[in-house]
């Protein structure tokens, strides 16, 4: 099956983190290597993604404006040459923002109570389709 998928999980803010940890544990139990980014700006997330050579970036956005954060994230990714790393977002994402995020290139947006299995399968599928990962394996 090749190497484990490396998934960077970052979050936007300090207070609430239940979903962040639940997802981290569930993905880890599902055979994915989860790199805990903690609370990170989009800029820091990109640096961590490079340092940790991850296959996928997951951004938990609950308090911040998803469209602003993801826009900065993609700008920075382009600048640092990792545009090919797929990005997924989860948290509280208004419908209008979801369309914008997908337009910007976000592969998947997960809302509250998306079953953990669905997220796991989705992450695996996105990783498998990623050219970045295919090069790495």
């Amino acid at each position: 099956m090749g190497q484990k998928i490396r998934f960077l999980l970052s979050r936007d803010d300090f207070y609430h983190q239940r979903g962040y940890w639940v997802l981290a544990k569930a993905l880890s139990d599902g055979g994915i290597e989860v790199v805990l980014g903690g609370i990170q700006t989009p800029q820091d997330t990109v640096e961590t993604a490079i340092e940790e050579d991850v296959d996928l970036i997951g951004y938990r956005i609950m308090n911040a404006s998803p469209r602003i954060l993801i826009q900065i994230l993609f700008e920075k990714m382009a600048k640092r040459g990792i545009k090919d790393v797929p990005v997924v977002v989860g948290g509280i994402v208004p419908e209008k923002d979801e369309a914008i995020l997908r337009g910007l290139g976000v592969k998947e947006v997960f809302h509250p109570f998306t079953p953990l299995k669905t997220i796991l399968e989705s992450v695996k599928t996105i990783a498998a389709e990623s050219t970045k990962r295919q090069e790495r394996i």
Partner: protein, 560 residues
């Protein structure tokens, strides 16, 4: 509580009854003779005096306002002390939040709460690159004393108890500076802040300064509500809070304070979850444990020290995006449990909180929920109305027992501060298990894993409201908030006397280095125009905090 003969006489009758019930249940497919509560407690279909045979009325239950305060901290419950209707508010700049405060007061709210947009309390200023997308989102942008002036414009600081949701000494300094400017004596100033008990100078300085100079201000805080949201059980909610309180008290006693000087200024932020009776019993158990622990282990004598007072916010993890108006019903039930449990202050979650920041429309419904419970149902007219119910008393005893066991484990691990990592791992495991139970359908959640509607009529109704109503039905964040806030910040930077600010900053740094209380020089610094980002920088320098960033942690570790 009951004569031994009765307990003995009941034995055979109850056993026969239980056998009958089990026989009937066994014939019904899917019927369960045992229910497991949200917090994992196994409960039977019926409770009788036999389940509280060991309970002693005077020792364990007693009267309201009397040790061990199981039935409430005040003699006459809500008859003499109105429930504080206190909705968390924090949106946009200080102007928008001030406007929302005034709106809530006009609807009948009688207490205020503000959440800044700086979760960690160590946040850079609003014009910093690193906080783009976070300004005025998930809280109000409060960079300088000028913002606090705007926030409190037209608000009587002596009339309304204000809670500030932050651990940041900067916020307290601004609150106190504002009171000074209004000529308010610190000794008359009420209020509270989320000064989460932790082994840090900032936390203990806040507690110490207020214990001595702002005696009516509730300066210490046990934020177990958000720990509970993280996934822990009702007993853990109590146990973790008490253990953390004990650790914080030890720190203050080391500074030379007496337990009765400050214990009454430590307040709780608690949750009220879906398991109705378990939650109501939890508040009763919490008060009893608090009183017993601090009287027996810490020698607290003042009755006010032993009164565990609580602000409660209803449970959010089961608020659903699907069929959003169902959240009104959920939160009402959570609120009822909190009121029957005798909390002092309450925030009822708005129905749209799984989607966005509440609007005036949804926040007003939260205020109305509390008013309807208070004014129309009669439940606030009888004190501790669930007291004496076999089930409630049994639950209260079991939760107390379980919580005391957990406190013992925490103490064996070095106490509330040292065992924090262990508590976190317990919370996270519980949260994962909880989510898996929702995913598998073992725990029911209407609209999510049962009674799912393909065509969500409630969501359609909400969208229709949003499109056609002459009020805002669903909150939408405006990117221009940041521009507005940055303009406010620049105004302060331009108008302040930088020389005076540097002097004030120097005095603040000197005081911290000399291990003097940081609050007095910080009050001077905020009056000189110091910003929260500048204070965060001072903290990161003098306390050698990792990085100078707005975030307190960015570990990049691999989850095992």
């Amino acid at each position: 509580m009951f004569k031994e003969e009765l307990i003995e006489e009941l034995k055979d009758i109850q056993e026969r009854y239980e056998a009958d019930v089990n026989r009937v249940l066994s014939k019904i497919p899917g019927a369960e003779s045992e229910h497991v509560t949200y917090s994992g407690m196994k409960v039977k279909p019926l409770y009788t005096p036999r389940d509280m045979a060991q309970t002693d009325f005077l020792k364990d239950i007693s009267f309201p306002g009397q040790y061990p305060f199981t039935r409430g901290v005040f003699e006459a419950g809500y008859l003499t002390r109105d429930l504080h209707i206190r909705q968390v508010t924090g949106l946009g700049t200080a102007e928008e939040t001030n406007e929302r405060w005034k709106f809530l007061l006009s609807q009948g709210a009688n207490a205020l709460s503000v959440v800044p947009d700086d979760g960690s309390g160590n946040r850079a200023d609003s014009d910093d690159e690193r906080v783009r997308g976070l300004v005025g989102k998930g809280g109000v942008a409060l960079d300088t004393l000028y913002d606090y002036e705007t926030l409190f414009d037209g608000i009587d600081m002596l009339k309304y108890p204000v809670h500030i949701i932050t651990t940041n000494a900067f916020a307290l300094a601004c609150y106190l500076a504002l009171a000074q400017r209004r000529g308010i004596d610190f000794r008359e100033l009420r209020g509270s802040m989320s000064n989460w008990m932790r082994p840090e100078t900032e936390c203990l300085d806040i507690m110490e300064f207020c214990a001595r100079d702002v005696p009516l201000f509730n300066a210490g805080y046990l934020d177990m509500r958000n720990v509970r949201e993280g996934g822990c059980t009702a007993a853990q909610e109590i146990a973790f809070g008490v253990a953390i309180a004990m650790a914080g008290c030890n720190g203050l006693i080391e500074r030379g304070l007496h337990i009765d000087d400050f214990l009454h200024r430590l307040t709780w932020f608690v949750n009220s979850g879906p398991e109705f009776f378990e939650e109501a019993a939890k508040f009763r158990a919490m008060r009893r444990i608090w009183a017993r622990t601090f009287r027996e282990d810490y020698g607290a004598k003042a009755p006010r020290s032993l009164m565990c007072r609580m602000h409660c916010q209803t449970y959010a993890p089961t608020l659903t995006l699907q069929q959003p108006f169902n959240n009104l019903i959920r939160s009402t039930i959570h609120a009822l449990a909190a009121i029957l449990g005798g909390v002092q202050s309450l925030h009822v979650n708005s129905f749209d909180e799984a989607l966005a920041i509440p609007t005036e429309f949804s926040a007003a419904l939260s205020v109305r929920t509390q008013q309807i419970i208070d004014l129309e149902t009669g439940v606030t007219k009888v004190i501790d109305p669930l007291g004496g119910s076999y089930y409630t008393e049994w639950l209260t005893d079991r939760i107390e027992e379980e919580a005391m066991e957990i406190i013992g484990v925490i103490q064996s691990k070095g106490g509330g501060f040292k065992a924090w990592d262990w508590m976190c791992s317990e919370i996270r495991s519980a949260a994962l298990k909880n989510q898996q139970e929702f995913d598998s359908g073992k725990k029911k959640l209407v609209g999510v894993n049962t009674l799912v509607e393909e065509d969500d009529i409630q969501m359609r109704a909400l969208k229709t409201l949003q499109e056609h109503a002459d009020f805002e039905a669903l909150f939408e964040y405006s990117d221009s908030v940041a521009d507005k806030q940055i303009a406010r910040l620049n105004k302060v930077r331009e108008e302040r006397d930088n020389k005076k600010l540097e002097e004030a900053k120097g005095e603040l740094v000197d005081a911290i280095n000399a291990k003097q209380n940081m609050i007095p020089p910080l009050i001077d610094a905020v009056k000189s125009g110091m910003t929260r980002g500048e204070f965060a920088l001072v903290k990161s320098q003098v306390f050698n905090m990792p990085g100078e960033g707005p975030y307190i942690c960015s570990p990049s570790s691999v989850l095992a």
